[in-house]
């Protein structure tokens, strides 16, 4: 029985071994536990940012206990969202020498311009073909100019530039790193932090590090959905708009894909025949989309049905159905001569949510204001001409919530009615509102005032100096 251990011997060995390990190998074991993911049972030491106060079930209701959140950072300006508006705001503010922190929900910067594959930089021209959106957006496009396959159709009004999403992600990563701002990716802004007076003091984030807070003097809500201003209690209008899923098709055959022309010959047989009433009945050919800067790669827009962009069930069901439709379309594309080897290069990581919340701001941009071509004393930039709407001014008041203090809004969720928001939601217009919000926030910090008391003349001076077109 020499080669067998009795129970007592076994316990003794284990105990001494355990004690030895606990005594001398503790750091190593901890390292192993972290790196190899080995299960360490029992109560764990508190991880940073994750106090263990789970939600509890009380009388059938799920209750989140009051808990203190770890503060990740204290900053002067916090930008929630790293899309076109957020990156423009953060870069503009950081360049004024103010400490800026930007948090982004996805693993890349650029929002729908990159992750949403909304590659057309539209609208940037007025009706005469003059580029009325410049500033930081123009700088981004100039950087894309330097890259091979970065951008096409620059300065070719009325054609609009089309960018490559990966090149754009690269440019934004480069600009962000160079600026020296603090950036957190994969970090979802979920709540506002407000003080006794209702003024915003920061925001709460959810990430792999758990729920954390960032405190700031001024918060810029560039979340696109107005998540922060809604949480802070600002008044807003909720809308529904089309939600699609944009994609890119690779290995498209060499065919004439001139997109963006004002009129197009669509019929090979120009025969006027009476269509039937109601829904489309035609079996459509595969949609090949339009050109990107990358050869033999097309991007395929999808308008999608009108849906609630804040409803996770609806978003999920749509994204799944969109995926099936994109594959079926690809199969149709492959049936067309010259495109037999086309493949689905990628579907956008971000769904094409257009509009959800629209701020009730100090100045709401309405269709009527556009029709009367109203000019504003507090103009902070222009939108280019869009369809039958001429270029128009964007007032600073559209970025400022009616009541909430210390909060600025940039991007698609600014104060506009549905018709105007259909224009102000577009990529270059988001650059404009973002840049203005960034500069305004620095003025707040430097002059210790709230956004609604910003010196407009000074704001406009700085914007002009940085190359923004103000008319």
């Amino acid at each position: 029985m020499a080669d067998k251990l009795t129970r007592r011997e076994m316990i003794r060995v284990l105990t001494t071994g355990g004690l030895f390990t606990a005594g001398s190998m503790m750091p190593l074991a901890a390292l192993y536990a972290q790196e190899l993911g080995s299960a360490v049972r029992g109560p764990q030491p508190p991880e940073p940012g994750s106090p263990k106060t789970p939600a509890t079930l009380v009388d059938g209701k799920v209750v989140q206990p009051v808990r203190e959140l770890p503060v990740l950072r204290k900053t002067r300006i916090l930008v929630v969202g790293g899309g076109p508006a957020g990156t423009a705001a953060a870069l503009a503010a950081q360049r004024q020498g103010v400490d800026v922190t930007m948090v982004e929900r996805y693993g890349h910067l650029g929002g729908l311009a990159t992750g949403g594959l909304v590659l057309a930089i539209f609208p940037i021209y007025n009706r005469d073909g003059k580029q009325v959106i410049r500033g930081i957006g123009e700088e981004m496009m100039q950087r894309l100019d330097q890259l091979k396959f970065g951008i096409v159709d620059r300065n070719k009004a009325p054609l609009y530039p089309v960018v490559d999403a990966e090149a754009f992600k690269y440019v934004l990563a480069d600009m962000t790193l160079q600026s020296g701002m603090h950036t957190y990716l994969n970090c979802w802004g979920v709540d506002a932090i407000v003080d006794d007076s209702g003024a915003v003091r920061g925001a709460v984030f959810e990430s792999k590090s758990g729920r954390q807070a960032i405190l700031a003097d001024i918060v810029i809500d560039a979340s696109g959905d107005g998540d922060i201003y809604a949480a802070a209690g600002a008044a807003y209008t909720k809308v529904k708009d089309n939600i699609g899923l944009v994609s890119r098709i690779g290995n498209i055959g060499e065919v004439d894909m001139t997109g963006g022309a004002e009129t197009e010959h669509t019929s090979t047989e120009p025969v006027r025949k009476r269509p039937t009433h109601g829904a489309p009945v035609t079996q459509l050919d595969g949609n090949m989309g339009s050109q990107t800067p990358v050869p033999r790669v097309n991007w395929l827009n999808m308008k999608g049905p009108v849906a609630d962009g804040l409803d996770v069930a609806e978003l999920t069901s749509l994204e799944l159905k969109h995926r099936l439709a994109l594959w079926h379309n690809l199969e149709k594309v492959r049936r067309q001569p010259g495109h037999e080897d086309a493949y689905l290069l990628e579907t956008a990581p971000q769904m094409g949510v257009r509009l959800t919340r629209l701020l009730d701001g100090v100045q709401i941009l309405t269709e009527n204001i556009l029709k009367t071509r109203t000019t504003f004393k507090d103009v902070i930039g222009y939108s280019g001409a869009f369809a039958n709407v001429a270029d128009f001014q964007i007032p600073y008041g559209a970025l400022v919530p009616e009541k909430i203090e210390n909060l600025l809004v940039a991007g698609r969720c600014i104060a506009a009615d549905f018709a105007v928001a259909n224009i102000t939601r577009l990529i270059p217009v988001c650059w404009v509102t973002g840049e203005a919000a960034g500069i305004a926030a620095t003025l707040c910090v430097q002059n210790q005032c709230t956004p609604r008391n910003v010196d407009i003349t000074k704001l406009q001076d700085i914007l002009r100096q940085t190359g923004v077109y103000l008319g």
């Binding site: 004002e262 009129t263 197009e264 669509t266 009476r274 269509p275 829904a279 489309p280 459509l284 039958n388």
Partner: protein
């Protein structure tokens, strides 16, 4: 020329100038062109019969008719500008002996035919009325192209030609308005002589063979007119192809009556500020529909929501006068989308040109879950076929959205006086 004749020429010259001013139109009186054509007693009476109503402008024409009872051919002598023009031409035309003096009074038969037809909703030869002809050349610049314009006023051209060749045959024998006045003048002795004259006239036909013969022919013409009118009403002379029938201007009677009632005066074509009303030279709606006005959206403009001029100038009742609010609900046709051409449906462009252009907000972008595409959907309850979408649509040469006539089964069957197709509410 004697003094009376000079007076007549002078008055008719003044009438010609007044007519030109009203029909051009150089005044702000919207119904001016209508009034000019309705000075003709024949037009005024036929229109009143068809409309089942007596308007102010028709009242003037009927008053002129009364005067023609008392004074034979009063209208010819003191009003008719067409007659004045033709008379002037006889002086430069071939001076022949009057070869047509033995011709029967065809104009009287035409008038009888037309009047009886009008009772049944089809004034058969009213397009031959000199006042209708007088208006037609004013539509030439608005008819789209010169050929169409000239074709539309071809009746005037024929008149000029026969006057050059045969002198005053039109006024003397062919003109239905002249014939109508002759018939009216024949009423005078009945009024003057009372019952006795009537009794003599009716009971002693054998003593007046010539006149009886003419009366008989007039009666035959009336019966013929009755038959034509009945046929026109029930079977429809203007049988349009159902799939692609011509679009008619707002206020138009139902298609089966419209072409018969329209007298081709060209007032609506001339009045339309957007030049979308054109005389039909395609023959799509049959021979009876030739030169009747159609709407074409092949230019840069549509049937404006703030205009009802064409309905104001129609003397015959083919286009019923409509208030602006009612006119906006009149269905010219229905906008239909050919999704196989639509840029939005094909995913070529996020085009919403038609949605934006529609003055009645009748088009919305809809989603088709089977084809997985967005497409413009027209609300038939709001669309009146104004064509704003069609001209806004960027596809060419064929538009992805275009206005088509309503199919017969969607039309409201009704009598002539019913303006048939309106949006509810």
């Amino acid at each position: 020329m004697n003094k009376r004749r000079w007076q007549s020429v002078l008055v008719r010259l003044l009438c010609l100038i007044a007519g030109l001013i009203l029909i051009w139109p150089l005044t702000s009186w919207e119904s001016g062109p209508r009034a000019v054509v309705e000075t003709s007693p024949l037009v005024a009476i036929c229109a009143s019969i068809i409309n089942r109503a007596l308007g102010f402008t028709a009242g003037i024409g009927i008053a002129f008719g009364m005067l023609s009872i008392l004074k034979k051919r009063w209208f010819c002598r003191f009003i008719c500008p067409t007659g004045l023009v033709l008379e002037a031409i006889t002086h430069i035309g071939l001076k022949r002996t009057v070869c047509w003096s033995r011709w029967p009074p065809l104009g009287q038969y035409a008038a009888a035919l037309t009047l009886v037809g009008a009772l049944l909703g089809y004034p058969v030869l009213l397009w031959m009325d000199p006042m209708a002809i007088f208006g037609s050349p004013f539509a030439i610049p608005m008819a789209g192209d010169l050929v169409t314009g000239l074709l539309a006023s071809s009746v005037l051209g024929i008149l000029l030609l026969i006057t050059l060749l045969l002198g005053g045959v039109w006024c003397g024998r062919l003109c239905p308005l002249g014939g109508f006045q002759d018939q009216l003048a024949a009423v005078k002795p009945i009024i003057a002589g009372g019952y006795q004259t009537v009794r003599v006239w009716l009971t002693t036909p054998a003593r007046r063979p010539g006149k009886i013969s003419r009366s008989r022919r007039a009666v035959i013409a009336s019966i013929f007119g009755f038959g034509l009118g009945l046929w026109g009403r029930n079977s429809g002379l203007a049988r349009a192809t159902t799939e692609d029938a011509p679009l008619r201007p707002p206020g138009a009677l139902a298609e089966e009556h419209f072409a018969g009632v329209c007298i081709r005066c060209g007032n609506c074509t001339a009045a339309c500020p957007t030049q979308i009303i054109r005389p039909d030279i395609t023959g799509k709606s049959g021979i009876a529909g030739l030169l009747a006005p159609t709407i074409r959206y092949d230019g840069k403009d549509y049937c404006r929501e703030d205009c009802n001029l064409c309905t104001r100038v129609c003397p015959s009742g083919a286009l019923q006068a409509l208030d602006l609010t009612v006119k906006r609900r009149y269905i010219i046709g229905e906008a239909l989308v050919d999704t196989s051409m639509c840029l939005l449906t094909l995913g070529k462009k996020e085009c919403d040109a038609c949605v934006v252009a529609c003055p009645y907000k009748a088009i919305a972008i809809s989603w088709d879950d089977n084809l997985y595409v967005s497409y413009p959907r027209v609300d038939p309850g709001k669309c009146n076929g104004c064509g704003a979408c069609e001209i806004a649509c960027p596809t060419n040469p064929v538009k992805a959205i275009s206005v088509w006539s309503l199919l017969p089964d969607t039309m409201t069957a009704g009598s002539v006086v019913e303006a048939p197709r309106f949006l509810s509410g």
